[in-house]
């Protein structure tokens, strides 16, 4: 069986070496590069299955790399690494189209679990347009609209909205959403769910429409069109 290929992008050599060692032991084929430009080249040459990307790098940062890759149609999962003091960068990374984030320093086991989950191919769902109230998601064309307005969602946002539309009226807790949207079947911190629900709400309500994505205290979230 082919080992999953992971591309590690970080300008710090100590982190590259440590991650190469740790992920190698966990059964990944690891390639490392030291900057954004090298990362763009490496993605074209090596076609990695998943990218671990440091946000704060001199020259070309992680946000720009993510945007460029998505604009080129590269849709492999991207996990961004951020330092604690870079909350805004992390947010920018997720908005640019990254799938998840970890704050440095992180537990290797947590990184490995997330990478495996992000790599897991989920069965392609039936690709007929789905509707809930004035929201329409079209998985085949990867298009989501509210009324006449195109929502311009990133991939993760789209998958989250698709999950809510499929389960309209049903309350989904964070663990369930992590499992359905991210494929995380382990106890992960559901903060990334809150972050993405925040993005979705902003885009869903950008035209002044009423809230349809509600918080259910102590449980999770529900789409009530």
């Amino acid at each position: 069986m082919r080992l999953p290929r992971v591309l590690v992008v970080d300008d710090e050599e100590a982190i590259r070496t440590a991650l190469e060692r740790a992920l190698g032991l966990e059964g990944f084929a690891v390639a490392t590069v030291d900057g954004g430009r090298a990362a763009l080249d490496a993605v074209e040459e090596q076609q990695p299955d998943v990218v671990v990307l440091d946000i704060l790098m001199p020259e070309l940062d992680g946000v720009t790399v993510t945007k460029t890759l998505r604009a080129r149609g590269r849709d492999m999962p991207i996990l961004v690494l951020s330092a604690l003091d870079e909350v805004d960068d992390r947010v920018a990374g997720l908005q640019a189209g990254a799938d998840d984030y970890l704050v440095k320093p992180f537990a290797v086991s947590e990184l490995v679990a997330r990478l495996h989950a992000l790599l897991r191919r989920r069965p392609q769902a039936v690709s007929v347009p789905l509707r809930a109230g004035d929201i329409v998601v079209d998985p085949a064309r990867h298009e989501a609209r509210r009324g006449d307005r195109d929502l311009a969602l990133t991939r993760r946002e789209f998958e989250l909205l698709e999950t809510f539309v499929r389960n309209a009226g049903i309350v989904l807790d964070r663990a369930k959403l992590l499992e359905l949207v991210w494929g995380y079947d382990f106890a992960a911190d559901g903060n990334v769910v809150d972050v993405f629900v925040g993005y979705l709400r902003r885009k869903l309500e950008a035209g002044g429409e009423p809230r349809v994505l509600h918080t259910v205290r102590g449980v999770g979230f529900v789409l009530r069109p």
Binding site: E12, A14, I15, T17, A18, L19, R21, A22, L25, L56, A83, L84, D85, V87, K104, P105, F106, A107, V108, S109, R174, A187, A188, D189, G190, N191, D194, T215, R217, G218, G220
Partner: protein, 383 residues
């Protein structure tokens, strides 16, 4: 009387009153002396004395006690009337003129108020086109503003430098600590370690985690100090608490964490800072409460404030330590649980940044109750 303008008007009126009384005394006095002189000379009353009242109507004994003739009494009545009118006119004119005279002072006050409301210490009060007393006052105030501006700029530059230092130092420290942690984990996964080696490795790993917790806390405190300048947005604290509780349940699966509160608790604040506050409150309760115990979070909207309480069923915090534990690096004396001593300091800092206050009391659950009261309008902290 608090109004300077009214005081000036009254002073003018009093001055006129005094002048009038003096003039009246002089006039009446001269008349009296002249009349007396005529009587002494035996010439009878002077010609201008006019007719006396008929003798039959006189009251009292004849002679010196004779009252003044009608002319004098009529004169006195008109004088009193004229005096009253003059007093009114003087008071009114004095009030108007005082307003005009005091206008430069009013302008100065308006300018000073603009400085106060805009907090723009670069503004200066108008100077050079007013009366010299007001100009002198404006000059003194401007000198004071200049000194304030200079010292504020100095404080801000120092703060900015220490913030930058904290951010850079934190980043530099985080990188080796990250690779160190990864390498320790790789080492721990090795099957060839003896029991003794494993114990040593566990000790190093624990101390490394403590270093990281300290770094996290210090960086967050430095960031929180800078947060006074962060623009406020409308934040639903109920949403923040809900997400933080969900996170705490994943981090501390053995503790039972319950949350009760209204559907919405909106306030003006800094979302990251509020999340930090709630995270640290929950972490404190989960770590220092009874292991596998109960943590109860409650949110209440009371008047113009949102009140957050976190209860645990641990040993509690003795009254003597309740203020000190909000200070940096201070930990409870009986505490054996791990911690950096920065968690409650962060809570206190964020409460203060949001114009609120954090206090510790006894929980009905038997442990500590930490209460944070935050004003809804996101008042800035008092400097």
């Amino acid at each position: 009387m608090r109004s300077l303008r009214a005081r000036v008007a009254v002073a003018a009126a009093v001055a006129v009153l005094a002048a009038f009384l003096l003039a009246g005394a002089v006039v009446v006095g001269t008349f009296a002396i002249e009349a007396r002189w005529h009587e002494v000379e035996g010439q009878g009353p002077p010609a201008w004395w006019g007719e006396r009242e008929p003798p039959g109507e006189r009251i009292g004994p004849p002679g010196a006690q004779d009252g003044p003739p009608r002319f004098v009494r009529a004169l006195a009545g008109r004088l009193a009337l004229a005096f009253g009118a003059v007093l009114l006119v003087v008071a009114a004119t004095g009030f108007r003129l005082a307003g005009v005279a005091l206008r430069p002072l009013a302008n100065l006050r308006a300018a000073a108020e603009r400085v106060a409301t805009t907090r723009d210490l670069a503004m200066r009060l108008p100077q050079g086109d007013g009366p010299e007393e007001v100009d002198a006052l404006a000059g003194s105030l401007n000198a004071m503003l200049a000194r304030l501006q200079a010292s504020t700029a100095q404080v801000e530059a120092t703060l900015e430098a220490s913030r930058r230092f904290a951010a850079e130092a934190g980043h530099e420290l985080r990188t080796p600590l990250t690779s160190m942690r990864t390498n320790l984990e790789v080492l721990a996964a090795s099957p060839n370690l003896t029991a003794e080696e494993q114990r040593v490795l566990a000790d190093v790993t624990r101390e490394q985690a403590r270093l990281l917790a300290l770094l996290d806390g210090l960086q967050r405190l430095a960031r929180g100090d800078a947060a006074e300048a962060v623009p406020r947005t409308r934040v639903d604290l109920a949403d923040v608490v809900d997400a933080a509780v969900a996170s705490a349940r994943v981090r501390h699966p053995k503790a039972t964490t319950a949350f009760t509160g209204p559907d919405e608790a909106p306030l003006d604040g800094w979302p990251d800072g509020l999340r930090l506050l709630v995270d640290n409150l929950l972490e404190n309760a989960c770590v220092h409460g009874r292991p596998g115990g109960r943590v109860e979070v409650a949110l209440d909207v009371v008047d113009d404030a949102v009140v957050l309480t976190v209860d645990d069923d641990g040993p509690g915090i003795p009254p003597a330590e309740r203020e000190r534990v909000f200070e940096r690096f201070v930990r409870g004396r009986q505490t054996r649980a791990p911690g950096s001593g920065l968690g409650l300091a962060l809570v206190a800092q964020q409460a203060r940044v949001h114009g609120g206050v954090a206090t510790i009391g006894d929980s009905p659950l038997g442990g500590a109750r930490v209460t944070v009261r935050l004003p809804v309008d996101g008042a800035r902290p008092a400097r």
